[in-house]
Subunit: 314 residues, 2 copies
């Protein structure tokens, strides 16, 4: 599949014996990225059999502990396992101070190069690009500076109709141009418009991650039409005042954003530790936006959607 | 019992999906103390049903992550659960910087007062005293500054022979003096020597915690005669060079220290992640010091020793 999101932890501030704080691993066309890294994330990665060293980049939304206290342990373990590959870390500027200090006090010089990318807040910005994906920030409204992240698969190239390659004698060196949209002139000087010799590429998907935030309609425009939106839903609707006060959202508010943004699917998580059952979260959200699912620990979301496999309980 | 030590985590540097880094909770006459606090300790405390808020003081041996990366999460959770009781934290001086910085960046002012006690290195020092226990440092030899901790139950008071209280008409206001060793003169002017009206107190026990350290005979004098010694045993004897190089110990070295110090029992832990079975650690240690046990996760050690209960597998 194009994008796969695995929920490593979905609890808000206070972890319990069996519920870990926020972290998600995203697989986009075989590349791995980590979003947030609460305490215990490295154990959760192992539990879900994600190879730590395959993670290319880590994105930290904000400096509340349930979103980053596991980061120093993870990068330290990558070092102890002898990582050589560079690692990109994106997060609030002050995060670097914390990591630098803890590495210095342990007298640790990491075995690999890490590139820290301090993020701005307030306006959406493209922060990362590789061959498969472009990531940008989603400004959120929390008690301290906080960004969500939008991952968009890059537009894929058109596919040359295989049977025409020998028929029209298309030379290999023309393949890239044609995939990029160029027409082709054959040996006899006949022009073949691109549309006649290629097929549409596979669709590109997008995933928007929004945690933590109070209800904030300015998110809508940024995540408009995303195939999958994760939106925090710390509380039920009867605690809307508490949500407002703590700069969090209710399940209904998350669904309202999903509906306004006309996303494909909504995943809700970051549950307050006061709840032991999330069926009311789901009910309240579904009343507003039907295509909602709980982002509980271990859950895997796939784009395009596939039929349930082992771990998936769609 | 007088002292109870519960092993919350016993792995060295690299945690795995099921093995947590170092932390131990000690119960001494109903008071709780925590030694070291690797990542995930707060989840382990909950798993072992230890109430976080009952912990009076935390002792951190050194600033390698597997011994303290869980501390900021734990003190943060204590805050979020509304702790009011003061908390004492003992550790290397620089530890305060890390905690201060992380609290500042999260804009968190803890709900309780925490008293940070920076420790010295090099000489054993008494660092903590309350009505039940006296704790002192055990200087260790590791790659960075590191202390072990010796917990000694305070000498208990003598017990007045109950049947003599009415017989000799001993007034309540004399009880404390007599328990402290005073003689008693009754209404008729007869002197009753303390030894005739009291019984010996219950014995006082001691627990010595030594992690992390290379083989270091100067420990022997400090832990001499301890009822229970925990000594790290990261490696087996065939990796003695690696132990020396990384400033760790082998199981046999741990046992040698136990034997020289004539302790009551030895517990070994802090196993390298390369081992999945610790029976060879036990075998190598027992060959030198028979009364050795593995300090695996969840194991409970009691002083005085009691017959196995639910969780104990002595």
């Amino acid at each position: 599949m194009a994008i796969q999101v695995t929920i490593l932890g979905a609890n808000s501030a206070i972890p319990t014996a069996t519920r870990f704080p926020t972290s998600q691993v995203i697989d986009i066309n075989q590349s791995r990225y980590l979003i947030d890294c609460g305490e215990g994330t490295q154990m959760q990665l192992r539990r879900h059999r994600v190879r730590l060293q395959r993670i290319k980049a880590i994105f930290i939304s904000h400096l509340h502990g349930d979103h980053y206290f596991g980061l120093i342990g993870l990068i330290n373990t990558m070092h102890m396992l002898g990582r050589q590959t560079e690692l990109d870390i994106f997060g609030p500027p002050d995060l670097k101070q914390v990591l630098d200090l803890q590495l210095k006090l342990a007298d640790t010089k990491l075995s690999y190069k890490w590139n820290f990318h301090p993020l701005n807040f307030g306006e959406p910005e493209v922060i990362y690009e590789d061959t498969g994906v472009t990531a940008s920030t989603i400004p959120l409204d929390h008690r301290i500076d906080c960004n969500g992240f939008l991952f968009q698969e890059n537009k894929k190239k058109r596919k040359i109709r295989r049977e025409l390659i020998p028929e029209l004698n298309i030379p290999v060196e023309q393949f890239q141009n044609i995939k990029a949209g160029a027409d082709f002139v054959d040996d006899k000087g006949v022009l073949h418009p691109n549309s006649t010799i290629t097929e549409d590429p596979k669709p590109s998907y997008s995933y928007a991650y929004c945690s933590d935030t109070k209800y904030n309609e300015s998110i809508v425009e940024v995540v408009k039409g995303a195939d999958l939106l994760y939106h925090e839903a710390t509380f039920l609707e009867d605690m809307i005042k508490r949500a407002e006060f703590t700069h969090h959202s209710t399940a209904k508010q998350a669904a309202t954003i999903a509906k306004m943004a006309e996303v494909g699917q909504l995943a809700i998580g970051h549950y307050s530790a006061r709840y032991t059952d999330f069926s009311d979260h789901l009910k309240e959200a579904k009343a507003v936006f039907e295509n909602t699912q709980l982002a509980t620990e271990g859950k895997v979301f796939s784009l395009p959607r596939v039929k349930p496999k082992k771990k998936e309980v769609e």
